[in-house]
Symmetry: C2
Subunit: 261 residues, 2 copies
C-alpha cells in the first residue's frame, strides 16, 4: 500500500533535495520599506517569539530581521538546503512536509502567523516549507539569530517554550497517525485547527481551511478520497456544512467527542 500523493501533482518541482533552490530566493519579494517601527507595529508580536523582547531587544531584532513574502506554493525553504535562515511567520499559512524517495508525502504541520520555523538541529533543513496562501515572514540569518539569543536567557527560554509546544503537538499527532480511525482523524483535525485559529484571534462560525484536501490527507495519513468521503458523510449526518474555503460546524460537541475518543 503506497499512497503516493505528491509526485503526480502538476506543477510541483521534483527537485533534488540536496540542491539549493536559489530561484525561490531570488523570486522572493523584499521591499525596501521603511523599517522604522516595523516590529513595534507587528500584529503578531505577542504571539510570536518576539513576545519575550523589550523595546531595546526589539530594535536590535529589527536590525537583523528582514521581511520576506512568498506567493502561493512558493517554497520558504526545502529539505536538504543549507539551513541558513530562521523564520517567524507574520501572515498566511505554510505547510511543512517530508517526502519519501518515491513521492509519498507526509505533512508534519501547518504554520500560522506567530509560528517560529527555526527549530532545526543540523546545518540542513530536515523538512520543507511552502506557502499555502500568500505568506509573509521575518527572516533572520541563523548566524545572527544564534548570536542574538546567546546572551538573552529570557528569549532563549521563549524559544524553548515554542520548541516544547511543537514537540507536544508532534506527540499528539503521532497518536493520531498511529491509532486513530479515519473518522477520528478528520474530526480531530477540524477541532484542533479551529482551536489554533481561535488562538491567533481568528474566531469565526466557519472554520477556514486554506489548505487543499490533498494537504489534509497528507497531514492525516489518509488519501484525498477518504478525507472527502468523511467530510461528505459528516455533512450528511448534519455535523457540519462544507462551504468554499472551509466548513461550518453545526454540532461542535459531536465533533469534539469524535476527536477525543
Amino acid at each position: 500500500m503506497k499512497y503516493i500523493s505528491w509526485s503526480a501533482t502538476a506543477g510541483e518541482p521534483r527537485v533534488n533535495p540536496a540542491l539549493e533552490r536559489v530561484g525561490a530566493m531570488i523570486r522572493t519579494i523584499s521591499p525596501n520599506r521603511a523599517s522604522f517601527g516595523r516590529c513595534s507595529a507587528c500584529t503578531v508580536r505577542s504571539l510570536s517569539i518576539c513576545g519575550a523582547l523589550d523595546q531595546a531587544d526589539l530594535a536590535e531584532f529589527e536590525r537583523i530581521a528582514r521581511q520576506v513574502h512568498f506567493a502561493t506554493n512558493e517554497a520558504l525553504f526545502s529539505v536538504g538546503q543549507a539551513a541558513n535562515s530562521v523564520h517567524s511567520l507574520t501572515s498566511g499559512v505554510a505547510r511543512l512536509y517530508k517526502l519519501l524517495p518515491d513521492g509519498r508525502r507526509q505533512v508534519i504541520g501547518f504554520a500560522l502567523p506567530g509560528d517560529f520555523l527555526g527549530t532545526a538541529p543540523a546545518d540542513r533543513y530536515s523538512f520543507s516549507a511552502d506557502a499555502i496562501d500568500s505568506v509573509t515572514a521575518c527572516r533572520l540569518s541563523r548566524e545572527a539569530f544564534t548570536h542574538f539569543i546567546e546572551h538573552r536567557p529570557h528569549f532563549l527560554i521563549r524559544i524553548n517554550e515554542f520548541a516544547t509546544r511543537e514537540l507536544t503537538m508532534a506527540q499528539e499527532q503521532m497518536l493520531l497517525l498511529g491509532r486513530r480511525t479515519a473518522e477520528e482523524k478528520v474530526a480531530s483535525f477540524l477541532i484542533s485547527w479551529r482551536e489554533r485559529l481561535a488562538q491567533i484571534g481568528d474566531e469565526q462560525p466557519t472554520i477556514s481551511l486554506p489548505m487543499s484536501r490533498q494537504d489534509i490527507a497528507d497531514y492525516l495519513g489518509l488519501t484525498i478520497e477518504t478525507v472527502s468521503r468523511t467530510l461528505t458523510r459528516f455533512e450528511r449526518e448534519k455535523m457540519l456544512i462544507i462551504v468554499t474555503g472551509g466548513v461550518r460546524l453545526l454540532d461542535p460537541d459531536r465533533a469534539a467527542a469524535m476527536a477525543a475518543a
Copy 2:
C-alpha cells in the same frame, strides 16, 4: 478499526490519568548513597544534558539532583500528574506513551541513557513513561531545574538542542506512521534503533531489543501479529536472525534500503 493493545494486558493498571500515582513514588528506591563525585563519575554525562556543565555547575547540579531507580514496568511518571520533576536517564530503557480513552496506545518513543525527560509545556505531564527494564535516572524538581537553567545560557542552549533533536525524531516518526508500509516500518525501526544504540556506545553484532513486541507494535502503529509476521518473514528471507532479546542483522544493507524507501 481499533487496535486496542494495552487495556487487555494483564497487570497494567487502568488508572485515572488525572489521578496521582503516589504508590509508584513510594515504591521508588532512593538509596542514601554518598553523593560525593556522583556526577563526576557519571558514565553518560557527556551524552546527557550535563555535558554542557563545567565543574562548578556540576557540583550545583549534583546538589539539586537525586538518583532514583525503577523496576521493570514501574512508572517514572504518568500523564495527567502534576509535572513536578524532570529526569535524565542514566541506565536502562523507558517507554514513553499516550493512551486513548478506550485503551489504544501509542508509544511515542523509547528513552535511553543520556536522554532527557523534561520537555513538557504545561504543569501536567502530557505522556506517561515507564521502565522497560531496570531504570536509573537523575530526578530534579522542576522548580529547582527552572531556577538552575535561568542564568546559564550555555545549559539552556544544550536543553534546546535536546528538544530540537526530539522534535526532528518526532517528525521522522510522523512520516513513518503516516506513509510507510508495515515492512518499511519494521525495517526503519531496526535501523534507527541500532543507530541509537551505537550512539550510546552499545555497538554489537546483535541489536538488543529490550522492549516487547507489543511495545514495538504500539510504536509503529501496527499490531503485535503484524510485527511478529514481518520479523519472521525477514528471518525466512535471511535478512536477520531472531534471537532472545534481540535480532542479529545478516543483511544490514537490505534493511537500510527498506528503511530508506
